[in-house]
Amino acid sequence: MKFFRNLAALAALLPATAGITEAMAQAAPLDNPSTLTIVANFSTGWVRNFNPYNETTRLYSAREFAYEPLIIFNTLHNGRPHYRLATGYDFSKDLLKLTFTLREGVLWSDGQPFTAQDVVFTYEMFKRFKALDTLDIWERLAAVEAPDAHTVIFTLKRVNANSLYELARIPVVAKHIWSKVADPVTFTNPDPVGTGPMTEVRRFTNQLYVQCRNPHYWDAASLKVDCLSFPQIGNNEQLLAAARNGKLDWFGAFMPDIERTYVAADPVHHRYWFPPGGTVAVNFNFDSPNPGNRAAFRNVNFRRAVSMAMDRRAIVDIAGYGYPIVNEYASGLGRLYQDWVNQDAERQFGKFAKYDKDGARALLAESGFRDVDGDGYVDNPDGKPIRFDILAPNGWTDWVNTTQLVVEGLNAIGINVRVSTPEPASWAQKLIQGDYDMAINGYFTGETPHRSYDTGFHSRFSGKTRTAPTRFNNPELNAALDAFVATIDPDEQRRSMDKVQMILAANSPYVPLFSNPIWYEYNTKRFKGWFNADNPVARPDVFDGTPERLLHLLALEPVNGGG
């Protein structure tokens, strides 16, 4: 009993200690810089790693915010350049030399001048430490030199217009700091010296860190936010809780029924905008281990029938809560790149991308697919059965629900298919190794549609990466994709991209379903200037991998003009 008495006494102390803590918190000095609270990724505890080349524990505020890119290309506006550390670029006539002109007067955050020597040093460092070369740029680069302090000339091994986008975004680090580092691969760069707007780390704990204004920032006139605050958030549920309480300013997450869960908590200030992003599609394995399935997948009419059985509108509304954008392009182009559309290809093959259950059944029937063995499902014309699972990564609920609707659509036209949800690691492994029949998959985005198609269907990636599991090898397609990057003439590029789309539309090697939304939610309570549907300046998300977030940061300012 004495034990319980003591416990009661302890419990009585609780409100007292709670009170003490509150009082102590309020007594902290009120030094009030305008602070933007951001959640750019989930973490179970921050690691003080500002090394911009580390792919595992790097803080997602190192690139763009601490280390500024040379040029930012605006994906939402056809790749229009915004010049940052560089003021211009120039291709030589043979397209093998790319010259960047660097901006004058740019300083590192410790006051030292930023020059072309830093760029050369950075690339030379990649040569010595391959682990830092995260774009494997030396596979395409022959040499880099700096004829003077504000000019850098890159010499390419072969013509590739895309190299411009790559070279413009690789973070450049300071020669006078990194030349003294013994092992830059494991260097965590705890106090970054950068060219970006936010380089000073004011506070750092596992649960929260604050990154503040660069005292020598070259574009300080455009920067109206003083500090960025990054609370540690572990999963979607915690993110939703913090967002509902109005604690976050800028983040991106999938929120089921967002009007009710997020906006309703503060209808005036809680906003969101989901512009179209990368394509999500169903992949066929042209080299499926099962001969019956393989024969079916290699038949273009079977693939077209699969495409016509997809009720994309229902998939988007039910599985995606209406957030994604339907992709009914025969070539799978996607709304993000609508300016590049090949109208001819869409006219000829567009009907195969629209929901038409009866048309699908008819197409299967007239191609010879019928129920030979009497099990209620169609088989190959030669009698081999068609039976498989479609893979979706476990835990990615919107994709899993999408796959279930896909299966319903396929069962309705007589195809014997079920859902299988392996762990994401296993799903990725099976796609790479070709140990699957059908799967749901997502594609990359880039400044132009080339990146998505190239990483998806060029033979050099085929069977080696998760985004190229189809194993559809078409030399004409390879040639058209290569021709696109062999020139910087917009008309020639347009012709190549038209050809790419025509080949894909005619062959339907995959079944695009929708464009994944770009997750972007914001809070107008403390800051204004946000990008949204009425102000679509650039891609608005705060994720690492979207350089445009720097432009977004510079567009923001405090609501009350200060503090």
Partner: protein, 325 residues
Amino acid sequence: MAFLLRRVGFYVAAFIVAATFNFLIPRLMPGNPVDIMFAQAGGTLPPEALAALKETFGFIDQPWPAQFVAYLKSVFTWDLGLSVKFHPLTVNEVLLRALPWTLMLVLTSSLIAFAIGSLAGILAAWRRGGRFDSIGAPIALMMQAMPPLVTSLLALFLFAIYWPVFPTGYAYDPEIDPGFTLEFFCSIFKHAFLPIVTMALAQVGGYLITMRNSMINLLGEDYIVLGTAKGLSDRRLRMAYAARNALLPTVTSFAMTLGASFGGALVTEVVFNYPGLGYTLFQGITARDYPLIQGQLLIMTLAMLTANFIADVLYVALDPRLRKG
């Protein structure tokens, strides 16, 4: 003595077997760390990064025998290598970030559950059939059956969201800087309250029932009857004779809990956003971070075997019958 030596021999053998399994099983899972990094990164990690990543993580690509030798060495040098998922942190650093919090949570909640459960079990057995026993024992069983996830979520919802008495997450208030200040310790206490209480609640039922059952078995023994006949007080009989003997099974289960503490408490950590080893191991497994998985499993094995060994030693101290041989 011979008894203890036999036990030590058994534990060494158990350790060797466990260590070998800890090495093999993670590597038998399909998938490898680099491919998984691409799968989980979605659109941010371009396929060109493959070369750079293979270069960074070359240390896990060596043939298994070489890795096994390095692993065995690490048992003695305590250098568990570089983590893959948390590169460039070493496995030691990753585990140390979470270890103090996990130990605090698990040890405190286990001690509280053990103390309360055992005392209540003694009371329930002594007044067998009485009011406390008829109500307490079924309630304990019900709490034991309730999944810890349900208890945690209920506690979070009721006491942190609906009535915001306690914070919803974190180990301490993010606004406070860690240091030896009263403010910091108060914050830790406040943030640890709900996790500790929910974890204690999940275990208390087990201790209560175990203690009650072993006490009830003993209450019919001759020496208890003799003690009552000789006029010993209720309390002395209950504590010094019956409870002391009934304690033995509970001690074993308590030792096992302590040993398992290095595995963390995954549910509590996820619900309360608390740093801990459970979630670290979970992340290591999904990322196929072999050095982290085998390092953590090694520590868990050692902890479990040590705890069992201590339980054996305690048994010898508590139970004179074992001292004879």
